[in-house]
């Protein structure tokens, strides 16, 4: 099964190890992973900033770059949503492109959703041991239906103890460019998320979207918490003790 990896620009820049962990998971699930070389960003920052033209240009670029694979897998619910649910909207007025957007939408998946529901992964490559709490990122949860998939995967690791936090489904305050435009509000919302996450007693906060994770980690450190770990689900599922 040929699977193309959409790395996402945040993973490319900030946490390449999430990209490699994703490849490891996909290969463990029996996939033949390719990484289209010219990929950059899905265009969500432009779309959510109201720049339709820039969003459309990037949508077309992604559509062109990801032809030919059976599936496209993204280690981010939010970027996967942009490709699956927003591209057809962005390109609604261009029939040819719209048809191609719809075709791509049918084979793009968020990582955990793909592992559980498409590849039906058996044994995970990691053996992480410790207590974790899972933050449900907004777009993954509410637009892509990512809720049970990461928990199902965590449950496959015998060393993992899942301690659910209060309000796991509440926004962490990241919101893309919102985090910079309204930094103080964003950080104040992040403080609540950190409070709930830490109150769960888990040693590691896990999530599926790097934006949220950078927000949560940045707030924890500013608050003086040096011990709570913040990890992407792909890192946890591939971690070797």
């Amino acid at each position: 099964m040929r699977v193309a990896l959409f790395v996402t620009c945040l993973v490319d820049l900030m946490r390449p190890r999430i990209g490699f962990a994703t490849i490891e998971l996909l290969e463990a699930a029996g996939c033949n992973v390719i990484v289209p070389a010219g990929q950059t960003c899905c265009g969500q920052p432009a779309w959510n900033s109201g720049d339709r033209a820039a969003a459309a240009a990037l949508a077309k670029k992604v559509i062109d770059e990801f032809v030919g694979s059976a599936y496209v897998v993204v280690p981010s619910g939010s970027c996967a949503d942009q490709i699956r649910n927003e591209y057809p909207v962005i390109l609604a007025d261009e029939p040819e492109w719209h048809a191609r957007a719809v075709e791509l939408a049918g084979r793009v998946y968020e990582l955990t959703d793909f592992l559980v529901n498409v590849a039906r992964i058996g044994t995970l490559p990691g053996n992480f041991s410790g207590s974790v709490t899972y933050h449900d990122s907004c777009t993954g949860l509410r637009s892509m239906g990512i809720k049970e998939q990461p928990r199902d995967l965590l449950a496959k690791l015998p060393g993992v103890e899942l301690k659910e936090m209060d309000a796991a489904e509440e926004c962490c305050g990241f919101g893309g460019t919102f985090s910079v435009k309204f930094g103080e509000i964003s950080a104040a919302i992040a403080a609540k998320k950190c409070g709930n996450a830490c109150a769960s007693g888990a040693g590691t906060i896990v999530g599926g979207d790097l934006g949220c994770l950078l927000n949560i980690e940045g707030k924890l450190r500013r608050l003086g918490d040096e011990t709570t770990q913040v990890r992407h689900i792909a890192e946890v599922l591939t971690a070797k003790n």
Partner: protein
């Protein structure tokens, strides 16, 4: 009400720095969110009900003029007078004229957000009519030097018990009380006199029923009944979008509204008021006026923002909004706060007068999933952002940054170079630490948190290296 939405950032900063407000917001959030979650479970098919409610509201909006004509016809047949107001000034003029015609000196008001849009109390006072707010929350705000409400159904949610106790003590010149029951009794004693002496009652309207010419009011304190039945003149002020076709439609919306708003199965009072007092009836107004208000609504009909007019003013979107929960309603600067306000304020007061509001949302869509009439609030906020870009309303540095970013992201070689430089710059900034305390290129981020340092090489670099070795 004059908009202060232009000062959103300063307003929000003040809210964040106010510890009393922060504590009050925390208490309020728990009450609204938890109670709603329990109440909606009483409905077997809540999602199906939302869908049906959305369809009822859409059916009206598709032929709004016809439903309004129908309402005018049925209401008039029951002895009411239907008047139309283009904007806030016309509301004020019409109410003052009605007051003068009937020799009104005092008007008792139940809650009406339209009267906030119009700044009606000030106009009434100028016309020699004394307005008395009788909703407890609105009353508290009125005696606190006409403070604006911070929530559409719980106008005084930003205040603590202690603050109200101080206010009553100062204004009523009575011994300070701290028990809620004692405070409400005190308010009731003050208000009772006004109910009995008011010549005019002014109310809002949750819904207008076209088939019967009725107004439906959803209230909890009983003041709505007093205001609409005791005075000889009753004036209903409501938006033109509030009409629903039938009583049957109303019953569905009534199943959703209180549950979404306060988490009640039904509000303490639901009044459906039709026509003037007939000779056979003992109470009710002799004169009934409907002032149906446009104030920006008609311009929204038929546009990509029409979905917003489905709103039934429950407040669930703000109750569940992480931004509203963090800064409260006053920061939004006009009558309507939270996600619905962030859409309505620019639509009604001008895109350029509320430049921050559509941006001040994480687009988490918690508002969208709780909205009882399924308004896609994040989508509307995003469309407003698109309008801002089209009209060149965004600040130059943002436009510049977006342009540069779009150019780089569109070109793989430029992106490779830019990301290569970018991660090295960030790594250097971190100076061997795992975090960056002050980020010059995006100072907003590090105002209240650190920025985690990057690994140091991009994925594409590392991947190319690994491929080379294979």
């Amino acid at each position: 009400m004059e908009s202060r939405s232009r000062h959103f950032k300063a307003n929000a900063a003040a809210s964040l720095a106010n510890p009393v407000l922060q504590a009050n917001l925390k208490t309020a959030k728990g009450k609204f969110v938890d109670k709603r979650a329990i109440a909606i479970k009483e409905i077997d098919d809540f999602e199906g009900s939302r869908e049906a409610a959305k369809n009822i509201r859409n059916r009206v909006l598709e032929n709004l003029d016809l439903w309004l004509e129908k309402f005018e016809e049925t209401a008039t047949a029951r002895g009411a007078t239907v008047l139309w107001a283009k904007d806030g000034d016309e509301i004020c003029r019409l109410v003052a004229e009605i007051g003068q015609r009937h020799g009104v000196q005092k008007a008792a008001k139940s809650k009406s957000m339209l009267s906030e849009e119009a700044n009606l109390n000030m106009a009434l006072t100028a016309a020699g009519i004394r307005p008395i707010e009788t909703d407890l929350g609105e009353y508290i705000l009125q005696i606190n030097d006409n403070e604006p409400p911070s929530h559409i159904i719980a106008p005084v949610v930003h205040k603590s018990l202690d603050e109200v106790a101080d206010l009553f003590h100062q204004v009523h010149k009575t011994p300070r009380k701290t028990e809620i029951q004692a405070l409400t009794r005190e308010a009731r004693e003050v208000l009772r006199e006004h109910f009995l002496t008011a010549d005019m009652g002014i109310s809002g309207g949750n819904f207008l029923v076209a088939e019967t010419g009725s107004v439906a009011l959803v209230t909890n304190e009983g003041n709505g009944r007093m205001v609409t039945t005791l005075p000889r003149v009753h004036v209903v002020i409501t938006g033109i979008e509030k009409v629903v076709p039938t009583l049957e439609d109303l019953t569905l919306l009534l199943r959703l509204l209180p549950r979404s708003a306060t988490g009640q199965s039904i509000s303490n009072y639901v009044s459906v008021l039709t026509g003037v007092k007939t000779p056979a009836e003992l109470d009710g107004p002799e004169h009934l006026y409907f002032i149906l208000v446009d104030n920006g609504r008609a311009d929204v009909v038929g546009t990509e923002f029409q979905d917003m007019l489905r709103c039934i003013r429950c407040g669930a979107c703000m109750n569940h909004c992480p931004v509203y929960q963090t800064i409260g309603g006053h920061a939004y600067g006009w009558v309507y706060p939270g996600p619905m306000g962030a859409v309505l304020t620019p639509l009604y007061t001008g895109l350029e007068n509320a430049i921050d509001l559509p941006q001040a949302a994480t687009l988490c869509n918690q508002c969208g999933v709780v909205c009882p009439v399924m308004i896609p609030l994040p989508e509307l906020l995003r469309k407003l952002r698109e309008k801002q870009v089209e009209k060149h309303l965004r600040p130059w540095f943002e436009r510049f940054a977006l342009k540069i970013w779009a150019r780089v992201a569109a070109s793989p070689p430029l992106y490779a170079l830019g990301s290569w430089l970018g991660v090295r710059y960030l790594k250097w900034l971190a100076g061997g630490q795992d975090r960056i305390p002050v980020l010059g290129v995006a100072p907003g981020w590090t105002l209240g948190r650190d920025f985690p340092a990057p690994e140091g090489e991009t994925f594409r670099e590392q991947y190319a290296e690994r491929q080379g070795k294979r």
